[in-house]
C-alpha cells in the first residue's frame, strides 16, 4: 500500500490502488450500513443502529492508511474504516444479529464490537475512553522495543469536549506516542450543533495547545480526506509523534436510526455533498475509476453482503445456557457464590 508522506495535507500523488481501495471501502461501508438500516427496520437487530452516512470518505481514509499490526479505535460511525482495516462483513453481521460466533458473543453489541487480535479495540460507550487505551497499547509496544506501528483513534466534534479526550491528547503528546486522533466534525453531537460543543473556529486549533501537528480537510472530498489521513498517519509513523486530524463533513442521517434528525438545519443538509456521490465522479475525472465500474462494485458488494447474511443468519444465537457468568479470568480461591 502506497501512502503519501507530505505533511502539508495537499498530497496529490496518492497512487491508483490506494484511491481505489479507499473508494471501495467507502462503498462497502455505505452498502453494509444501508443493509443494517433495513434489517433494523424489519426488527431483526437488537439494540441501536448508528450509521456513518456521509463520513465514509474520512473513516475509510483512516482505515486504508493503516497497516497490519497497527491499532484502530473506531467510533460509532466507522463502518467504512473498519472494513478498510480488515473487518469482514460476516464479523459485522454476527454482532448485529447477536450471534454467539460474533466477537462479542452477544455479551456486548453492535458498535462496541472489536477484536484485539485484529487490532480493533472493542469500545466502551463512554466517549473519549478509547483514546488512552489506544495510547496504552502504543506505550506497551515501545516499552517492549517494538516499533513501527501507529494507532488511530476516532472521535467526534462533540466528544472533543470530554475530559477523557483531553487527558489522552495531552498524554500522547507528552509521552510522544504515535497516535493519530481523527476528529469527524459532522456538525452535530446528537441533536446539538457545533455551537454547543466548542467555541473555537476549527477544532484543529487544539493541536498547537497540545504541541502536536494538526491537519484539516474537507472530508466530503475523498481525495482530500485520503491525502490528509495518509499524511498524518505517515507522519506519526515516521516521527513517532501524535497527530490531530479534523475532517469537516455532515452527518447525513439521524444520530441513530431511532432518531429522525428533525432538528438538523434543512438548508445545510440540502447543500451538503455526499462523499459517496462525489467520490466516483471525482475518481472517474481523475482516471482512477472506469465508467461503470462503480456499479459493478456495488453489485459485487451487494452479493457479498447477501451471502454473508445468509451464512450468519444460520449461526446460533447467543444463549444463556452457554454462559459461565464469570467476570473474572482467574479462579479466585475465595470466589463467592452468587447470593
Amino acid at each position: 500500500m502506497q501512502a503519501a508522506t507530505s505533511m502539508d495535507s495537499t498530497v496529490t500523488d496518492l497512487g491508483h490502488e490506494l484511491r481505489r481501495t479507499h473508494l471501495r471501502a467507502m462503498l462497502n461501508g455505505r452498502l453494509l450500513e444501508e443493509r443494517l438500516r433495513s434489517l433494523y427496520r424489519q426488527g431483526l437487530i437488537h439494540g441501536g443502529v448508528y450509521l456513518g452516512f456521509g463520513q465514509e470518505a474520512f473513516s475509510a481514509a483512516g482505515g486504508c492508511c493503516l497497516q497490519k499490526g497497527d491499532v484502530f479505535a473506531p467510533l460509532i460511525r466507522d463502518m467504512a474504516g473498519r472494513l478498510a482495516f480488515g473487518e469482514t462483513v460476516e464479523e459485522v453481521l454476527r454482532t448485529y444479529l447477536g450471534k454467539r460466533s460474533g466477537a462479542m458473543r452477544g455479551r456486548d453489541g453492535n458498535i462496541h464490537r472489536g477484536s484485539l487480535e485484529q487490532g480493533i479495540l472493542p469500545m466502551i460507550s463512554h466517549l473519549g475512553a478509547m483514546l488512552p487505551t489506544a495510547a496504552g497499547i502504543l506505550l506497551a509496544r515501545r516499552l517492549r522495543g517494538a516499533s513501527g506501528s501507529v494507532g488511530l483513534a476516532a472521535i467526534g466534534d462533540g466528544a472533543m469536549a470530554c475530559g477523557a479526550t483531553h487527558e489522552a491528547l495531552n498524554a500522547v503528546a507528552v509521552h510522544r506516542l504515535p497516535l493519530v486522533v481523527m476528529v469527524a466534525n459532522n456538525g452535530y453531537s446528537y441533536s446539538s450543533p457545533n455551537s454547543c460543543a466548542f467555541a473555537c473556529d476549527d477544532l484543529v486549533q487544539r493541536a498547537e495547545g497540545y504541541g502536536i501537528p494538526g491537519h484539516h480537510c474537507d472530508a466530503t472530498d475523498p481525495k482530500a480526506a485520503l491525502a490528509t489521513m495518509a499524511g498524518a498517519i505517515t507522519a506519526a509513523r515516521e516521527t513517532g509523534q501524535a497527530q490531530l486530524v479534523v475532517g469537516k463533513l455532515l452527518r447525513l442521517c439521524g444520530h441513530g436510526e431511532h432518531d429522525d434528525g428533525a432538528y438538523m438545519d434543512a438548508a445545510q443538509r440540502e447543500a451538503a455533498r455526499d462523499c459517496l456521490s462525489f467520490g466516483p465522479e471525482q475518481a472517474v475525472a481523475d482516471g482512477i475509476l472506469a465508467a461503470g465500474e462503480w456499479d459493478q462494485w456495488r453489485q459485487v458488494i451487494t452479493t457479498t453482503i447477501d451471502t454473508a447474511l445468509a451464512t450468519v443468519e444460520a449461526e446460533p444465537d447467543a444463549e444463556p445456557a452457554q454462559e459461565d457468568w464469570q467476570a473474572w479470568s482467574e479462579s479466585w480461591p475465595g470466589l463467592e457464590a452468587a447470593p
Binding site: G106, R107, I124, S125, G163, S189, D317, A318, E323
Partner: protein, 327 residues
C-alpha cells in the same frame, strides 16, 4: 392512550418546577430545542422557559461542577445525564463536592441530578446500569428511585425543592410502560420522600423492591398468592438514601421474613445494606434468613436473552420467597 406515563409525569414535574420557581433551570446534553433530551423528558420546555433549559457539551464532570456552583449561589439546577452509566464521569463532583458541601461549609447544595437507570433489552453493559450503590455510599447524598407515576411527579418536585443534592434515578423501562389514567398533579400523593410505601399488604413475607423491580415483585405477589397461597407484603422503597428504615423494619415485624429484590449488581450496595440493617436491628423479628435477589455478578449483557437471564425476574422472587417461607 391518554393516561399519563411515568415520562410524562417527569416532564410535568419539570414544567411546574420551572413555572413556580425562577431559580430552577435545566442543564444537560441535548435537553433544549425541539429535541428535548435522549428520552424526550424535557421536550417543549425550552419553548416555554427559554434560557432556563440549556444544552451542555459532552462534559459530565463540568455539568455537575457547574450545577454545584449554581446551587451554591442559591439556584436549583436540574442536570440530566443521558444515561446513568455516564454519571461515572461526574462521580468525583457528585460525591466529593456536592455531597460534602453542606457539611464542610454549612451552605446547602440544592441540585437534582436526573439519571436514566436500569436495563432494557439490547441496552448492553453501558446503557443499563443502576446507580444507587456507587452514588449512595458517600455521606451527604440523597437517592430517589420512584416506581410509579405519582412518585415520578411528586418525588421529582421534592428533589428539586430539597436543599440537598439528590440523585434522581428514573428507570428507562418505566418511561412509557408505566401509565396511570387517574394521575392528577394537584391530587398526586405527596408521601414524604424517605418513607417507604406498602404497595401490597401481606402477612407471610416482606419483599422490598424499588424502581422497575417493584413490578416484578408485584407480579411475583400475584403468582405466590394464586399458585402457592402465600401473601407477600410488597414494600416500595422509593427513597434509597436515606433509607426508610422504619417502614422496612415495621413490615418485617409483621411478616418475620425478608426478601430484597434488586436489579443492581449483587456485591455491596443497597440490597446488602437492607439485609445488614434488618439483621442488626431486626434480628429478633426474623423467622428465617433474609434473602437477596440481585442480578448476576457480570456486566449487563447486550443480547436480550442473556439479559433476561442476568436480570432477576419475578420467578426468582417467587423462588426466594418460597425458600424463605418454607425455611
Amino acid at each position: 392512550m391518554s393516561a399519563t406515563s411515568y415520562a410524562g409525569a417527569l416532564r410535568l414535574a419539570l414544567d411546574h418546577a420551572l413555572r413556580d420557581d425562577d431559580d430552577v433551570f435545566i442543564y444537560g446534553q441535548d435537553v433544549a430545542g425541539s429535541f428535548g433530551g435522549a428520552f424526550k423528558i424535557t421536550k417543549g420546555l425550552s419553548d416555554r422557559y427559554g434560557d432556563r433549559v440549556i444544552n451542555a457539551p459532552i462534559s459530565e464532570d463540568a455539568i455537575a461542577g457547574m450545577a454545584i456552583g449554581a446551587a451554591m449561589e442559591g439556584m436549583r439546577p436540574v442536570i440530566e445525564f443521558q444515561f446513568a452509566d455516564f454519571a461515572t464521569i461526574a462521580f468525583n463532583q457528585l460525591v466529593n463536592h456536592a455531597g460534602t458541601t453542606y457539611w464542610r461549609t454549612g451552605k446547602p447544595c440544592p441540585l437534582t441530578a436526573r439519571l436514566p437507570v436500569g436495563g432494557t433489552p439490547g441496552g448492553g453493559p453501558f446503557h443499563s446500569q443502576m446507580a444507587e450503590a456507587w452514588l449512595g455510599h458517600h455521606p451527604g447524598m440523597v437517592v430517589f428511585a420512584p416506581a410509579t407515576v405519582d412518585d415520578a411527579y411528586c418525588m421529582l418536585r421534592q428533589a428539586i425543592a430539597s436543599n440537598d443534592p439528590v440523585i434522581f434515578c428514573e428507570h428507562k423501562y418505566l418511561y412509557e410502560q408505566v401509565r396511570d389514567d387517574s394521575f392528577n398533579p394537584d391530587l398526586a400523593s405527596a408521601l414524604p420522600a424517605g418513607e417507604a410505601a406498602i404497595r401490597r399488604h401481606g402477612r407471610d413475607c416482606t419483599v422490598v423492591a424499588w424502581s422497575a423491580m417493584l413490578y416484578d415483585a408485584l407480579r411475583a405477589a400475584d403468582v405466590l398468592a394464586r399458585e402457592h397461597g402465600i401473601e407477600i407484603e410488597v414494600i416500595d422503597l422509593r427513597c434509597l438514601r436515606p433509607l426508610p428504615r422504619d417502614g422496612v423494619l415495621g413490615s418485617v415485624s409483621r411478616t418475620g421474613r425478608l426478601v430484597v429484590a434488586s436489579e443492581d449488581f449483587p456485591f455491596g450496595g443497597v440490597a446488602a445494606e437492607l439485609l445488614a440493617l434488618v439483621a442488626q436491628h431486626g434480628f429478633g423479628l426474623l423467622d428465617a434468613p433474609p434473602v437477596r435477589v440481585s442480578s448476576l455478578d457480570t456486566p449487563i449483557p447486550f443480547h436480550p436473552s442473556l439479559w433476561a437471564a442476568h436480570r432477576p425476574q419475578a420467578a426468582d422472587i417467587v423462588a426466594a420467597v418460597i425458600q424463605t417461607v418454607r425455611f
